[in-house]
């Protein structure tokens, strides 16, 4: 039987190409992204271990606030340094200061885009055992006006020693003299990041606090382990500080980065699985068709004494070989893909200097397993059908698709649909932590249920869709429509693959449109100012607080009020808090008091949104325990419960700017946005005030002055950007679905060789043959697309409804986009038919009709 399987495999290798291709693409995507993210992760692991290689022990504050980007810590005083230096076993100890700083090019534009690699300002360490930098040109910084740049930044900015270099920080733009250019070890950059180095007091003034270090790095003498030294140091340092080994310190940075990469990796994995899920339909369809076409051969084998089990195993084995081989090639392609993407990322300067490709064995094994298993599972049903072929079928004519409107099918489909809908509802409305998984599972069941019902609705659907075609192009339309209807299972499975892809596209499009509409609505309803100043920077590179005062001083400005955000632990959980000046902000953004008074929010107080107060059962006057970077645990009194349509609310907690300044280091005391209201909002008033506004915002690099229309566009553009990324990632699933359409058409053409020959013999022209195949393809594509869009809209509506209390209040359908999707589907349908139609038209009439 193995021989039969292998021979069958060889005989049908052309027909199995699409199966192999869909497995291959999915596996390649899956393994490729895993290899890429592992490589990036490994390269950054190396960056961190290189950067911190000379550090044996780190002394730092033990007060920290967790953020999604790792923990932030309070700085420690310089006074700790002498204590540490005196410890026996310490070779050298120096305070390290690190902050965000933007090096500007000669046109005063940031050298690194907001989405680019990080940009750091550091202090130059003087002890050789701690400083990894090697000056390659000029000297180290010694004066307060000195700056030293990494080799790449100097090159990118066309800076030479002696040039004036401008940098942008909290306090605005400052000028320095480039005294030196350095490499980190042998590398041009600090692990891919931009670095500017200053004397310790200079950088403390720029991004830190005078007299404070971020941490103290200690190099030990030889002969003592890091742990021993850390233990010794720990005994002498003051309370509120801790000593950890260099290894632990490096591992913490590595872990924080891996967490981010991990999220990214999971995100990509979801799309790889979607692609494989779509691919499983192609596999199922191919095997179904092959089994149908081989009915006579299988029946012959049965008549000659093959058991059902042998037939079943034979098909399964065939699927196994196809799945395994395709997966192996897929992993190979995935590695190549990762290498290519890695090169690309290096060229655009995103990744580390020389990221070696790391191929994690787990990713390879999992990719192979998933690819092979999906092929096997998808082939099980066709294989079972093959096993039920009775020996007598060998004597009969070719079997026809008997899948009709069987009651069992409808019932099973509806049960699955109900289960899926329930899971969607539960996931959206329940407060379960695994809501997202439940929603994903629900969507999966809905897709499966539609696939089960598919054959039942395929015939009427094809009939309706084909009707106008039949009216328009007579006999070719009629034949195309009949062909789409004759194998309902085949048509519906092919369409299902497309339905999933289009369904997700539609879902994302509807959700994004709703988010955009809600955002615009919210801004319209809440922002009463005319201008908004935004920035790409954050923390110390955002807008200086002085800017609000400067804007207030511009003639024609009634009020300018800034908003800041910070991480803090509130009621034991890490949250984003907004900070505003309550008296001025209420003049540019509408806040309604539910309880208490928002506009009198002051030091020692905190405000909560109505939703938050309801969810957490908060009462006015309640003490809220909070913890920030500065000052440690802080008790705040809940003095206001407010309501606003304003879209950026963070977690709903708001403190006053005064309170914010008390708990955040000076360098972080910036605004993320400033809202400006003019005295005269007419165009004359706007024109009069605009030059003054521009003059102020131009002093801060990266600051953008936008009127409300531009601001709204910028907000919705962010959604559009995300949308584009998701579309690109879903494209693979759609391509696989189109491969499925091509495959089904090709197999159908092959199956209808005789019929096509007959049509050609009685006078069908090649053009008419092509047209028939093309129209059939369009019917299938439209069927998948239309059902997909309906599902997408329903899913989108469900999500938007569930997110209503998160500020997504409008449900909007992007009709233009949907129409474009339908048009693309028609074009793709025509495109998918190109090759099959040509094959059909090229058919040798004589061979087609000569009876074998």
């Amino acid at each position: 039987m193995l021989k039969v399987t292998l021979r069958g495999l060889m005989a049908h290798k052309v027909r199995l190409i699409a199966t192999a291709l869909s497995v291959l693409l999915g596996v390649a995507f899956m393994s490729g992204t895993q290899v890429l993210t592992s490589s990036i992760s490994a390269s950054f692991d190396k960056v961190f271990s290189d950067v911190y290689a000379s550090i044996d022990v780190v002394v730092r504050s033990n007060n920290k606030v967790e953020t999604p980007f790792g923990s932030q810590r309070t700085r420690i005083s310089e006074s700790v340094l002498p204590t540490v230096t005196g410890v026996p076993g310490v070779e050298a100890a120096e305070g390290q200061v690190v902050g965000q700083i933007k090096v500007l090019d000669k046109d005063n534009k940031p050298l690194v885009a907001a989405q680019g690699p990080p940009n750091f300002g550091l202090n130059w360490l003087t002890s050789p055992s701690l400083n990894g930098w090697k000056v390659v040109d000029g000297v180290a910084p010694t004066q307060s006006s000195d700056i030293l740049l990494d080799a790449k930044t100097a090159k990118d900015g066309h800076y030479a020693v002696g040039d004036t270099v401008n940098v942008s920080v909290t306090k605005g733009v400052q000028s320095f003299t480039l005294v030196g250019i350095a490499k980190f070890g042998k590398l041009d950059t600090w692990g891919g990041a931009q670095a500017a180095l200053f004397t310790t007091p200079t950088i403390q003034a720029l991004v830190g606090e005078p007299g404070m270090y971020d941490w103290i790095s200690i190099a030990g003498k030889d002969g003592e382990s890091q742990q021993q030294l850390a233990n010794t140091v720990a005994k002498v340092i003051p309370p509120g500080t801790e000593a950890i080994t260099g290894k632990e310190f490096t591992a913490e940075s590595q872990d924080a980065f891996q967490k981010i990469i991990g999220i990214f990796s999971t995100f990509l994995l979801v799309f790889a699985l979607i692609a494989l899920f779509v691919g499983s339909f192609i596999i199922y369809n191919t095997f179904s068709i092959i089994v149908a076409q081989r009915t006579k051969e299988l029946a012959l084998l049965r008549a000659l004494g093959a058991s059902r089990g042998q037939i079943l195993r034979s098909i399964i084995l065939e699927a196994f070989f196809v799945g395994l081989i395709a997966s192996i090639i897929g992993v190979g392609c995935g590695v190549l893909l990762a290498i290519g993407l890695n090169k690309l990322m290096q060229t655009i300067g995103f990744s580390g200097p020389d990221t070696p490709i790391v191929i994690p064995p787990v990713a390879v094994v999992v990719s192979l397993l998933v690819g092979t298993l999906i092929t096997l599972v998808s082939a099980v049903f066709p294989a079972r059908r093959a096993a039920t072929v009775p020996p007598i079928a060998a004597m009969r004519d070719v079997a026809v698709d008997r899948t009709g409107t069987s009651k069992r099918r409808v019932v099973a489909g509806l049960v699955l649909l109900a289960a899926g809908a329930f899971m969607l509802w539960y996931g959206l409305n329940g407060n379960s932590d695994s809501g997202l998984q439940i929603i994903g599972g629900g969507a999966f069941f809905v897709f499966i249920s539609l696939t089960v019902i598919g054959p039942v609705i395929a015939t009427p659907f094809a009939s309706v869709l084909g009707w106008p075609l039949q009216k328009a192009s007579r006999i070719t339309g009629r034949l195309a429509r009949e062909n789409a209807m004759r194998n309902p299972r085949r048509t519906s499975t092919t369409a299902s693959a497309l339905m999933i892809g289009i369904g997700l596209v539609g879902f994302i499009a509807v959700t994004a449109q709703s988010i955009k509409a809600s955002t615009v609505d919210a801004i319209n309803q809440s922002v009463t100012g005319q201008y908004v100043v935004t920035t790409e920077g954050f923390g110390s590179t955002a807008l200086p607080q002085t800017m609000a005062a400067d804007l207030n001083a511009v003639s024609g400005v009634q009020v300018a009020s800034g908003i800041s955000g910070t991480f803090g632990d509130v009621m034991g959980r890490s949250k984003v808090l907004l900070a505003v000046d309550p008296t001025s902000i209420t003049q540019v953004i509408k806040f309604t008091d539910v309880q208490g008074s928002f506009s009198s929010l002051g030091i020692g107080q905190i405000a909560a949104s109505e939703q938050l107060a309801k969810d957490k059962h908060l009462a006015l006057g309640q003490i809220i325990d909070a913890k920030f970077l500065q000052g440690g645990p802080t008790n705040l009194v809940l003095s206001s419960i407010y309501k606003t349509e304003f879209p950026t609310q963070g977690s709903g907690w708001i403190i006053s700017t005064d309170q914010f300044n008390a708990v955040v280091p000076p360098a972080q005391q910036t605004y993320s946005a400033i809202y400006v209201k003019l005295k005269d909002a007419s165009s004359a008033g706007v024109n009069a005030a605009l030059p003054g506004l521009k003059a102020v915002t131009d002093t801060v690099p990266g600051a953008k002055l936008q009127n409300l229309t531009e601001y709204k566009k910028a907000q919705t553009d962010q959604v559009n950007q995300f949308l584009q990324i998701v579309y690109v990632l879903l494209a693979l699933a759609l391509i696989i679905a189109i491969v499925g359409v091509v495959n089904t058409l090709l197999l159908s053409v092959y199956e209808r060789t005789r019929e096509l020959g007959l049509l050609r013999a009685v006078g069908m022209s090649r053009r008419q043959v092509r047209s028939t195949i093309r129209l059939e393809s369009v019917i299938i594509s439209l069927m998948g697309t239309l059902i997909g869009l309906v599902i997408g809209i329903v899913f989108g509506w469900a999500l938007v409804t569930a997110l209503a209390d998160q500020g997504i209040t409008s449900f909007a359908i992007p009709w233009t986009q949907l129409v474009i999707i339908v048009i693309i589907a028609i074009v793709a349908g025509v495109g998918a038919a190109l090759y099959p139609a040509r094959r059909a038209a090229r058919l040798d009439v004589l061979r087609a009709i000569s009876s074998d």
Partner: protein
């Protein structure tokens, strides 16, 4: 070429002049047709007979413009096929030639009536309703006309196939073993139907067969052996055909 009927001055519906066709090359060279010159008279029923591999099907395929030849000339009416490209051949088939095959004669997704009018639908022209009614009533399918082929018996299917060949009033109809897949009763029904089409409607039919009984329905039988035309018989009977066949060792 654009009209259905051939010019009146041509006595034959189709004829060949020294047609030769070979397959393969070198040692595997097979001569399928060897200098064949034959003509098929208008409004007559001609049968082509010969043993397996004699080239009778090849001859029919070549005359019908389905297959190419190596040398010689073939005419349908007065149209020389050698000068036509695929598009023109397709049109010729559609407008002036009718086909009946051994099996798989009908498009399974179309009803019997739709199958009959298929060539006209492909040409985008309306059938001659009066002629169509005549054909349809002669086929005798009655209410089964709206049924799909799978719901018809083999004999009924083949009658629909003959009706389709007749419907467009072609200059000539080629039938390739039309009774090969049928039982003898259905087979003789088809042959009677074809005989009647020639007698009553003055159609021209060329039929390839290896069955002497089927050949006996024809006006004339031509015999092919090893690709060469060896003999012919006018007004054959089953016995006279068998007699003649024996001579060729078939």
């Amino acid at each position: 070429m654009t009209t259905n009927s051939s010019p009146a001055d041509t006595a034959t519906a189709a004829h060949t002049e020294n047609v030769t066709k070979v397959y393969g090359a070198g040692d595997t060279l097979v001569t399928a047709l060897d200098n064949v010159s034959v003509s098929f008279e208008r409004s007559k029923f001609t049968a082509i007979m010969g043993p397996s591999g004699s080239g009778k099907s090849t001859l029919m395929h070549c005359v019908a413009g389905l297959d190419t030849i190596n040398s010689g000339r073939i005419f349908i009416g007065d149209v020389d096929l050698s000068g036509l490209n695929d598009k023109q051949l397709t049109r010729l088939r559609r407008d002036t030639i009718g086909f009946v095959f051994q099996s798989f004669n009908l498009v399974p997704t179309l009803t019997a009536l739709e199958n009959i009018t298929l060539p006209m639908d492909l040409a985008g022209r309306a059938p001659d309703q009066e002629w169509l009614d005549t054909i349809v009533s002669t086929v005798g399918l009655g209410d089964r006309l709206s049924h799909r082929p799978s719901e018809l018996s083999g004999g009924q299917q083949q009658r629909v196939a003959v009706a389709r060949a007749l419907a467009s009033q072609p200059a000539i109809i080629f039938a390739d073993e039309p009774t090969g897949n049928l039982d003898s009763r259905s087979g003789s029904e088809i042959l009677q139907f074809m005989r009647m089409a020639v007698d009553k409607f003055a159609q021209t039919i060329v039929m390839v067969t290896h069955d002497p009984l089927a050949a006996s329905y024809a006006d004339r039988v031509v015999f092919l052996v090893d690709g060469a035309l060896v003999d012919e018989l006018q007004s054959p009977t089953a016995d006279s055909v068998i007699d003649r066949m024996k001579r060729f060792g078939a």
